[in-house]
Amino acid sequence: MPTGVSQEPLAARLEQGPALRVEGLTKRFGDILAVDDLTLEVARGTVYGFLGPNGAGKTTTIGMLLGLVHPTRGRAEVLGRAVTPGDPRALRRVGALVGAPALLPSFSARRNLQLLAGLVPDHDGHAAVDAALERVGLAEVAHRRAGAFSTGMKQRLGLAMALLEEPQLLVLDEPTSGMDAAGRREVKNLLRSVAARGTTVFLSSHLLHEVEQVCDEVAVLDRGRLVTAGPVGTLLPNATSVRLRLDDPGAAAGALAALDGVERVTENGAYLEVEGVDPQRLVAFLAGVGHVPSEVTSGRPDLETLFLQLTAPAGEAVAA
């Protein structure tokens, strides 16, 4: 369930304009068109999932958003300022973790953060470093060499770098890579708390279940092109399939003719599979006509199914 909505009033957020706006963004590496005419907008305070298979152009797009990659065409705007490689003004309130965390392995975790904090003038580096270490659970081991950290700890340190000095926009590319289940859950909770404080999160991940749980909106990129974008709830097909175990499935199937919205009923041994009506209403109706199911399972197409359908090569069937 998306929970990243900011406590800031919607009107105030809209007045400030989007946190991120991309118009006709295109990047060509020689003959390879990595990103093709990408246009999207991310409202402030939302958690936005940026999805796509490997090689779809996600990292290149993020590189352009962070001024690391020169667009061939189009423009990117972050927090109301155009991003231009070499011009740092747009990125002052942006935190980023792109791929594996970038750190100086011979320095301690604290020193890595201090060096980064030192780049920002007039900034209380020590307090911000301590706060960032605390938030990612590395305060106890902050004195240890970053190079000696496990993959998960390095990833946490990368997150601490991204969270340094309360960014207004957080750009994360696979932030839970290399983390165990507990670590992934912590990151998920962290993203929720960050978003609840008004920070916009732009999240690229291949863990679609997590994206579905955390994100308000998603965009799907395939072969450099935007395939779809919008709120998670509206993108997922509404069709719900319900599987019921009944004493007399034939009679129950006949009774369902009187229920509005039923699109398809399939008898399968002791089971009925019903499409087009939500489980609660279906069970209530059947119980009302004397067919109380002994087992109910509900299946709703998830983000992964949608993603696979959208990004499958032409002509290739997708098993839902």
Partner: protein, 242 residues
């Protein structure tokens, strides 16, 4: 730029490599001075001065340090700390310039240690072994400045190669090739051309002679400026993807 330079200084001097290199150069100078003191006087009867021994050692140390500074830059492409800093709002030109500027104190250290050791030998009982007439504290500092200045093209080359190849190996190979192969070979085969390469210019700058100190200093400055400008231009145009 100040914040960047301060950060780069912190990175450079917290690494043991600078201190180790300075110690090695000091030890080499001490060993050489002792060897000269213990050996029979040359036929000319004139022993090398402390300056004549220490300046080349200091310059070699500076060349090695330049190569290592370039290697550190190349390494940061692999560690991806360069994109991290740029994504935090650091400008590319100032970031590269800060690296160049931050290396200067390290060069001073590496150049000063052998000269200081030489001075210590000159002031001690080994004065007879090392001709000390040219080495005083002011001369020492002039020699340090000249040595560091002479090393600037190597530093610029190392940083440029690190940017060009995005590699830690390229700057080391490039600087060593120039210093150990190209300059000696050109110096032998085409001495007139060789006189305008950085090593010969450095020798002129420190000891005088050749095209003259002013011309040598100007050419060293031109080499350094052109290489730094090329590195900055290249760095600015690079796409830094994962």
């Amino acid at each position: 730029m100040i914040a960047l330079t301060s950060a780069e200084l912190g990175k450079l001097f917290r690494r043991s490599m600078v201190w180790r290199l300075a110690l090695v150069m000091g030890a080499v100078m001490a060993g050489l001075a002792v060897a000269v003191a213990l050996s029979a006087p040359p036929e000319s009867g004139v022993r090398p001065s402390a300056l004549e021994l220490a300046v080349p050692i200091g310059l070699i140390g500076c060349q090695v340090l330049a190569a290592l500074a370039g290697a550190a830059m190349g390494q940061e492409y692999q560690w991806r700390t360069l994109p991290l800093w740029l994504a935090r709002g650091a400008r590319r030109g100032p970031l590269l310039a800060a690296r160049f500027v931050a290396a200067l104190p390290a060069l001073v250290l590496v150049a000063a240690v052998p000269l200081t050791v030489g001075l210590a030998f000159s002031l001690g009982d080994l004065e007879a072994a090392l001709r000390a007439s040219h080495l005083t504290v002011p001369t020492l500092w002039l020699a340090v400045v000249a040595t560091v200045f002479a090393a600037l093209p190597y530093l610029a080359l190392a940083l440029g190669l690190a940017v060009l190849r995005r590699s830690a190996v390229a700057p080391v190979v490039g600087v060593l090739l120039l210093a150990l192969l190209v300059e000696p070979v050109v110096g032998q085969l085409a001495p007139r051309l060789g006189a305008y390469l950085p090593a010969a210019l450095a020798a002129n700058l420190v000891a005088g002679g050749g095209p003259g100190r002013l011309l040598a200093a100007s050419l060293i400055l031109v080499y350094s400026a052109v290489l730094v400008a090329a590195a900055v231009t290249l760095f600015r145009s690079q796409d830094l993807t994962g």
